[in-house]
Amino acid sequence: MQIVVFYILCIVLFAIWKKVNAYEAFLTGVENSFKTILTIFPNILAIIFAINVFLHSGIMELLSNFLSKINIIPEIIMQCILKPISWSSSLLMMSKVFETYGVDSKLGALSTLIQGGSDTTIYIVALYFSSIKMKKTGHTIWVGILTDITTFIVSYLLIKLL
Protein backbone atom coordinates (compact mmCIF):
# COMPACT_ATOMS: atom_id res chain seq x y z
CA MET A 1 0.00 0.00 0.00
CA GLN A 2 2.93 2.33 0.62
CA ILE A 3 3.46 2.55 -3.10
CA VAL A 4 0.11 4.24 -3.65
CA VAL A 5 0.93 6.77 -0.93
CA PHE A 6 4.33 7.45 -2.45
CA TYR A 7 2.85 7.80 -5.94
CA ILE A 8 0.22 10.32 -4.85
CA LEU A 9 2.83 12.19 -2.79
CA CYS A 10 5.00 12.61 -5.90
CA ILE A 11 2.10 13.98 -7.95
CA VAL A 12 1.00 16.41 -5.23
CA LEU A 13 4.55 17.56 -4.45
CA PHE A 14 5.20 18.20 -8.12
CA ALA A 15 2.02 20.27 -8.34
CA ILE A 16 3.04 22.32 -5.30
CA TRP A 17 6.52 22.86 -6.74
CA LYS A 18 4.98 24.07 -10.02
CA LYS A 19 2.60 26.30 -8.03
CA VAL A 20 -0.48 24.72 -9.59
CA ASN A 21 -3.82 24.76 -7.81
CA ALA A 22 -3.92 21.05 -7.02
CA TYR A 23 -7.23 21.26 -5.19
CA GLU A 24 -9.02 22.88 -8.14
CA ALA A 25 -7.44 20.38 -10.54
CA PHE A 26 -8.61 17.47 -8.41
CA LEU A 27 -12.17 18.81 -8.40
CA THR A 28 -12.15 19.28 -12.19
CA GLY A 29 -10.92 15.74 -12.69
CA VAL A 30 -13.61 14.25 -10.48
CA GLU A 31 -16.31 16.39 -12.07
CA ASN A 32 -15.26 15.43 -15.60
CA SER A 33 -15.42 11.72 -14.88
CA PHE A 34 -19.02 11.75 -13.62
CA LYS A 35 -20.30 11.30 -17.16
CA THR A 36 -18.09 8.29 -17.82
CA ILE A 37 -19.27 6.66 -14.65
CA LEU A 38 -22.95 6.95 -15.48
CA THR A 39 -22.36 5.27 -18.84
CA ILE A 40 -20.69 2.22 -17.28
CA PHE A 41 -23.50 1.22 -14.91
CA PRO A 42 -25.88 -0.27 -17.55
CA ASN A 43 -22.91 -2.17 -18.92
CA ILE A 44 -21.95 -3.57 -15.52
CA LEU A 45 -25.52 -4.60 -14.73
CA ALA A 46 -25.89 -6.43 -18.04
CA ILE A 47 -22.56 -8.20 -17.67
CA ILE A 48 -23.06 -9.18 -14.04
CA PHE A 49 -26.43 -10.66 -14.95
CA ALA A 50 -24.98 -12.73 -17.81
CA ILE A 51 -21.93 -13.81 -15.81
CA ASN A 52 -24.04 -14.81 -12.81
CA VAL A 53 -26.42 -16.87 -14.94
CA PHE A 54 -23.51 -18.57 -16.64
CA LEU A 55 -21.41 -19.26 -13.55
CA HIS A 56 -24.27 -20.58 -11.41
CA SER A 57 -25.90 -22.75 -14.05
CA GLY A 58 -24.00 -25.85 -12.99
CA ILE A 59 -21.47 -25.48 -15.78
CA MET A 60 -18.82 -24.83 -13.14
CA GLU A 61 -19.21 -28.35 -11.77
CA LEU A 62 -19.00 -29.79 -15.27
CA LEU A 63 -15.94 -27.76 -16.20
CA SER A 64 -14.07 -27.74 -12.91
CA ASN A 65 -13.25 -31.45 -13.13
CA PHE A 66 -11.42 -30.84 -16.34
CA LEU A 67 -9.91 -27.50 -15.38
CA SER A 68 -8.62 -28.63 -11.99
CA LYS A 69 -6.03 -30.71 -13.79
CA ILE A 70 -4.26 -27.56 -14.95
CA ASN A 71 -5.08 -25.53 -11.82
CA ILE A 72 -7.35 -23.07 -13.54
CA ILE A 73 -10.85 -22.05 -12.55
CA PRO A 74 -13.73 -21.20 -14.91
CA GLU A 75 -13.68 -17.57 -13.70
CA ILE A 76 -10.17 -17.10 -15.07
CA ILE A 77 -11.17 -18.60 -18.42
CA MET A 78 -14.12 -16.18 -18.55
CA GLN A 79 -11.82 -13.31 -17.69
CA CYS A 80 -9.52 -14.26 -20.58
CA ILE A 81 -12.43 -14.44 -23.02
CA LEU A 82 -13.87 -11.09 -21.92
CA LYS A 83 -10.49 -9.34 -21.71
CA PRO A 84 -10.12 -8.34 -25.38
CA ILE A 85 -13.74 -7.15 -25.58
CA SER A 86 -14.59 -5.21 -22.48
CA TRP A 87 -12.33 -3.78 -19.81
CA SER A 88 -15.01 -3.44 -17.17
CA SER A 89 -16.34 -6.97 -17.58
CA SER A 90 -12.93 -8.62 -17.26
CA LEU A 91 -12.32 -6.37 -14.25
CA LEU A 92 -15.58 -7.72 -12.83
CA MET A 93 -14.36 -11.27 -13.33
CA MET A 94 -11.21 -10.32 -11.46
CA SER A 95 -13.25 -9.05 -8.50
CA LYS A 96 -15.27 -12.29 -8.60
CA VAL A 97 -12.03 -14.25 -8.30
CA PHE A 98 -10.98 -12.00 -5.40
CA GLU A 99 -14.31 -12.56 -3.66
CA THR A 100 -14.36 -16.33 -4.09
CA TYR A 101 -10.73 -17.36 -3.78
CA GLY A 102 -9.14 -14.45 -1.91
CA VAL A 103 -7.00 -11.62 -3.21
CA ASP A 104 -3.74 -12.98 -1.89
CA SER A 105 -4.25 -16.48 -3.24
CA LYS A 106 -2.33 -17.73 -6.27
CA LEU A 107 -5.49 -17.46 -8.35
CA GLY A 108 -5.94 -13.87 -7.21
CA ALA A 109 -2.41 -13.08 -8.32
CA LEU A 110 -2.93 -14.82 -11.67
CA SER A 111 -6.11 -12.85 -12.24
CA THR A 112 -4.28 -9.63 -11.40
CA LEU A 113 -1.49 -10.37 -13.87
CA ILE A 114 -3.97 -11.18 -16.64
CA GLN A 115 -5.85 -7.94 -16.01
CA GLY A 116 -2.69 -5.84 -15.97
CA GLY A 117 -0.99 -7.47 -18.93
CA SER A 118 -2.64 -5.89 -21.92
CA ASP A 119 -5.61 -3.74 -22.78
CA THR A 120 -9.00 -4.38 -24.39
CA THR A 121 -7.85 -5.12 -27.94
CA ILE A 122 -11.11 -5.11 -29.85
CA TYR A 123 -12.50 -2.11 -28.01
CA ILE A 124 -9.34 -0.05 -28.59
CA VAL A 125 -9.09 -0.93 -32.27
CA ALA A 126 -12.77 -0.05 -32.73
CA LEU A 127 -12.39 3.19 -30.78
CA TYR A 128 -9.33 4.45 -32.64
CA PHE A 129 -10.26 3.42 -36.15
CA SER A 130 -13.86 4.55 -35.89
CA SER A 131 -12.68 7.95 -34.63
CA ILE A 132 -11.18 8.62 -38.07
CA LYS A 133 -13.84 6.57 -39.89
CA MET A 134 -11.35 4.09 -41.28
CA LYS A 135 -12.61 0.61 -42.09
CA LYS A 136 -9.34 -1.19 -42.83
CA THR A 137 -7.31 -1.97 -39.73
CA GLY A 138 -4.27 -3.72 -41.18
CA HIS A 139 -2.87 -6.39 -38.92
CA THR A 140 -3.76 -4.59 -35.67
CA ILE A 141 -6.56 -6.92 -34.49
CA TRP A 142 -4.61 -10.12 -35.08
CA VAL A 143 -1.43 -8.90 -33.47
CA GLY A 144 -3.51 -7.50 -30.61
CA ILE A 145 -5.30 -10.79 -29.96
CA LEU A 146 -2.00 -12.68 -30.14
CA THR A 147 -0.59 -10.23 -27.60
CA ASP A 148 -3.52 -10.97 -25.29
CA ILE A 149 -2.94 -14.70 -25.62
CA THR A 150 0.76 -14.20 -24.91
CA THR A 151 -0.02 -12.32 -21.69
CA PHE A 152 -2.36 -15.10 -20.57
CA ILE A 153 0.28 -17.75 -21.16
CA VAL A 154 3.10 -15.72 -19.61
CA SER A 155 0.99 -14.91 -16.51
CA TYR A 156 0.00 -18.55 -16.12
CA LEU A 157 3.58 -19.78 -16.40
CA LEU A 158 4.93 -17.11 -14.04
CA ILE A 159 2.39 -18.00 -11.34
CA LYS A 160 2.99 -21.69 -11.83
CA LEU A 161 6.75 -21.36 -11.56
CA LEU A 162 6.75 -19.13 -8.48
Binding site: F26, S33, N52, V53, H56, D104, G116, T140, V143, L162
Partner: protein, 194 residues
Protein backbone atom coordinates in the same frame (compact mmCIF):
# COMPACT_ATOMS: atom_id res chain seq x y z
CA UNK B 1 -20.68 -8.02 -27.30
CA UNK B 2 -24.32 -8.70 -28.10
CA UNK B 3 -23.53 -12.21 -29.30
CA UNK B 4 -21.37 -13.07 -26.31
CA UNK B 5 -23.96 -11.73 -23.90
CA UNK B 6 -26.79 -13.72 -25.48
CA UNK B 7 -24.70 -16.89 -25.64
CA UNK B 8 -23.72 -16.63 -21.97
CA UNK B 9 -27.32 -16.15 -20.85
CA UNK B 10 -28.72 -18.86 -23.12
CA UNK B 11 -26.08 -21.47 -22.26
CA UNK B 12 -26.46 -20.66 -18.57
CA UNK B 13 -30.22 -21.06 -18.52
CA UNK B 14 -30.12 -24.14 -20.72
CA UNK B 15 -27.58 -25.93 -18.53
CA UNK B 16 -29.39 -25.01 -15.35
CA UNK B 17 -32.55 -26.63 -16.77
CA UNK B 18 -30.53 -29.74 -17.58
CA UNK B 19 -28.91 -29.93 -14.15
CA UNK B 20 -32.14 -28.97 -12.40
CA UNK B 21 -30.82 -25.93 -10.58
CA UNK B 22 -33.28 -23.37 -11.95
CA UNK B 23 -34.66 -22.52 -8.51
CA UNK B 24 -31.26 -21.49 -7.24
CA UNK B 25 -30.58 -19.63 -10.48
CA UNK B 26 -33.79 -17.63 -10.09
CA UNK B 27 -32.68 -16.10 -6.82
CA UNK B 28 -29.23 -15.43 -8.24
CA UNK B 29 -30.72 -13.55 -11.17
CA UNK B 30 -32.81 -11.41 -8.84
CA UNK B 31 -29.73 -10.63 -6.75
CA UNK B 32 -27.67 -9.68 -9.80
CA UNK B 33 -28.81 -6.07 -9.63
CA UNK B 34 -27.61 -5.66 -6.04
CA UNK B 35 -24.42 -7.48 -6.92
CA UNK B 36 -23.84 -5.18 -9.89
CA UNK B 37 -24.53 -2.07 -7.83
CA UNK B 38 -21.99 -3.03 -5.19
CA UNK B 39 -19.27 -3.60 -7.75
CA UNK B 40 -20.29 -0.46 -9.64
CA UNK B 41 -19.98 1.59 -6.46
CA UNK B 42 -16.46 0.27 -5.82
CA UNK B 43 -15.38 0.89 -9.38
CA UNK B 44 -17.10 4.27 -9.76
CA UNK B 45 -15.56 5.72 -6.63
CA UNK B 46 -12.13 4.48 -7.72
CA UNK B 47 -12.48 6.09 -11.13
CA UNK B 48 -13.68 9.37 -9.61
CA UNK B 49 -10.81 9.48 -7.15
CA UNK B 50 -8.05 8.57 -9.60
CA UNK B 51 -9.30 10.96 -12.26
CA UNK B 52 -9.00 13.70 -9.66
CA UNK B 53 -5.38 12.73 -9.01
CA UNK B 54 -4.67 12.45 -12.75
CA UNK B 55 -6.01 15.93 -13.33
CA UNK B 56 -3.41 17.21 -10.87
CA UNK B 57 -0.70 15.37 -12.83
CA UNK B 58 -1.92 16.94 -16.08
CA UNK B 59 -2.43 20.45 -14.75
CA UNK B 60 0.99 20.54 -13.09
CA UNK B 61 2.68 19.55 -16.34
CA UNK B 62 4.10 16.34 -14.88
CA UNK B 63 3.12 14.37 -17.98
CA UNK B 64 4.67 16.99 -20.25
CA UNK B 65 7.95 16.84 -18.34
CA UNK B 66 8.26 13.07 -18.56
CA UNK B 67 7.23 13.22 -22.20
CA UNK B 68 10.20 15.46 -22.94
CA UNK B 69 12.55 12.89 -21.40
CA UNK B 70 11.16 9.98 -23.36
CA UNK B 71 10.81 11.65 -26.72
CA UNK B 72 14.06 10.38 -28.19
CA UNK B 73 13.68 6.66 -27.44
CA UNK B 74 10.05 6.77 -28.56
CA UNK B 75 10.84 8.54 -31.80
CA UNK B 76 12.86 5.47 -32.75
CA UNK B 77 9.62 3.48 -32.94
CA UNK B 78 8.06 5.94 -35.37
CA UNK B 79 10.74 6.61 -37.99
CA UNK B 80 8.30 8.21 -40.43
CA UNK B 81 7.11 10.88 -37.99
CA UNK B 82 8.98 14.14 -37.50
CA UNK B 83 10.47 14.21 -33.99
CA UNK B 84 9.44 17.77 -33.23
CA UNK B 85 5.98 17.67 -34.74
CA UNK B 86 2.80 18.17 -32.74
CA UNK B 87 1.83 14.64 -33.71
CA UNK B 88 4.89 13.17 -31.97
CA UNK B 89 4.08 15.30 -28.93
CA UNK B 90 0.63 13.72 -28.65
CA UNK B 91 1.95 10.19 -29.29
CA UNK B 92 4.50 10.56 -26.50
CA UNK B 93 2.14 12.06 -23.96
CA UNK B 94 -0.37 9.29 -24.66
CA UNK B 95 2.26 6.62 -24.05
CA UNK B 96 3.57 8.38 -20.94
CA UNK B 97 0.04 8.67 -19.51
CA UNK B 98 -0.37 4.93 -20.09
CA UNK B 99 2.93 4.18 -18.37
CA UNK B 100 1.86 6.12 -15.29
CA UNK B 101 -1.40 4.20 -15.18
CA UNK B 102 -3.45 7.25 -16.12
CA UNK B 103 -5.66 5.34 -18.55
CA UNK B 104 -8.48 7.85 -18.49
CA UNK B 105 -6.13 10.70 -19.34
CA UNK B 106 -4.40 8.69 -22.07
CA UNK B 107 -7.38 8.09 -24.34
CA UNK B 108 -8.19 11.67 -25.43
CA UNK B 109 -4.46 12.28 -26.09
CA UNK B 110 -4.30 9.07 -28.09
CA UNK B 111 -7.31 9.93 -30.22
CA UNK B 112 -5.80 13.32 -31.04
CA UNK B 113 -2.49 11.67 -31.99
CA UNK B 114 -4.28 9.17 -34.19
CA UNK B 115 -6.13 11.95 -36.00
CA UNK B 116 -2.87 13.74 -36.74
CA UNK B 117 -1.30 10.47 -37.93
CA UNK B 118 -4.19 10.05 -40.34
CA UNK B 119 -3.73 13.60 -41.66
CA UNK B 120 -0.16 12.72 -42.57
CA UNK B 121 -1.18 9.36 -43.98
CA UNK B 122 -4.23 10.58 -45.92
CA UNK B 123 -5.13 7.16 -47.33
CA UNK B 124 -7.90 4.64 -46.82
CA UNK B 125 -5.50 2.13 -45.28
CA UNK B 126 -3.58 2.72 -42.03
CA UNK B 127 0.08 3.70 -42.23
CA UNK B 128 2.70 1.54 -40.41
CA UNK B 129 3.04 4.26 -37.77
CA UNK B 130 -0.71 4.18 -37.10
CA UNK B 131 -0.67 0.41 -36.64
CA UNK B 132 2.34 0.58 -34.31
CA UNK B 133 0.64 3.29 -32.29
CA UNK B 134 -2.62 1.38 -31.78
CA UNK B 135 -0.69 -1.79 -30.92
CA UNK B 136 1.28 0.10 -28.26
CA UNK B 137 -2.02 1.21 -26.81
CA UNK B 138 -3.20 -2.40 -26.74
CA UNK B 139 -0.15 -3.79 -24.99
CA UNK B 140 -0.08 -0.70 -22.70
CA UNK B 141 3.24 -0.66 -20.97
CA UNK B 142 2.13 0.30 -17.45
CA UNK B 143 4.49 0.87 -14.57
CA UNK B 144 1.81 1.73 -12.06
CA UNK B 145 -1.56 0.01 -12.62
CA UNK B 146 -3.62 2.27 -10.39
CA UNK B 147 -7.09 0.73 -10.75
CA UNK B 148 -5.94 -2.83 -10.22
CA UNK B 149 -3.86 -2.02 -7.16
CA UNK B 150 -6.71 -0.03 -5.63
CA UNK B 151 -9.23 -2.78 -6.34
CA UNK B 152 -6.96 -5.31 -4.67
CA UNK B 153 -6.78 -3.22 -1.51
CA UNK B 154 -10.58 -2.80 -1.57
CA UNK B 155 -10.80 -6.57 -1.26
CA UNK B 156 -8.41 -6.38 1.72
CA UNK B 157 -5.50 -7.73 -0.26
CA UNK B 158 -1.86 -6.83 -0.07
CA UNK B 159 -0.03 -5.79 -3.19
CA UNK B 160 3.61 -6.57 -2.63
CA UNK B 161 6.42 -4.97 -4.58
CA UNK B 162 7.17 -8.35 -6.14
CA UNK B 163 3.63 -8.59 -7.54
CA UNK B 164 3.92 -5.12 -9.08
CA UNK B 165 7.27 -6.21 -10.49
CA UNK B 166 5.59 -9.28 -12.02
CA UNK B 167 2.87 -7.10 -13.53
CA UNK B 168 5.50 -4.85 -15.10
CA UNK B 169 7.29 -7.94 -16.38
CA UNK B 170 4.13 -9.32 -18.02
CA UNK B 171 3.21 -6.03 -19.69
CA UNK B 172 6.82 -5.56 -20.87
CA UNK B 173 6.84 -9.01 -22.44
CA UNK B 174 3.50 -8.19 -24.10
CA UNK B 175 4.89 -4.92 -25.45
CA UNK B 176 8.08 -6.50 -26.78
CA UNK B 177 6.05 -9.30 -28.36
CA UNK B 178 3.71 -6.83 -30.08
CA UNK B 179 6.50 -4.63 -31.40
CA UNK B 180 8.50 -7.58 -32.74
CA UNK B 181 5.50 -9.10 -34.49
CA UNK B 182 4.52 -5.68 -35.85
CA UNK B 183 8.01 -5.11 -37.27
CA UNK B 184 8.11 -8.59 -38.85
CA UNK B 185 4.72 -8.09 -40.52
CA UNK B 186 5.80 -4.62 -41.65
CA UNK B 187 8.87 -5.97 -43.42
CA UNK B 188 6.87 -8.79 -44.99
CA UNK B 189 4.42 -6.31 -46.53
CA UNK B 190 7.33 -4.13 -47.69
CA UNK B 191 8.83 -7.10 -49.54
CA UNK B 192 5.53 -7.99 -51.14
CA UNK B 193 5.24 -4.49 -52.56
CA UNK B 194 8.67 -4.79 -54.15
Amino acid sequence: MNKIWSILVLIGIFISILTGSTEELGSIIINSATDAFQIFLKLALLILFWNGIFQIAIASGLIKNITRLLKKPLAFLFPSIDKDSLCMEYICSNLVANMLGLGAAATPLGLKAFQLLQEENNKETPSPAMITFVLLNISTLTFFPTTIISLRSMYQGKTSISLIFLMILVTSIATIFTLTLDRILYFITLRKKK
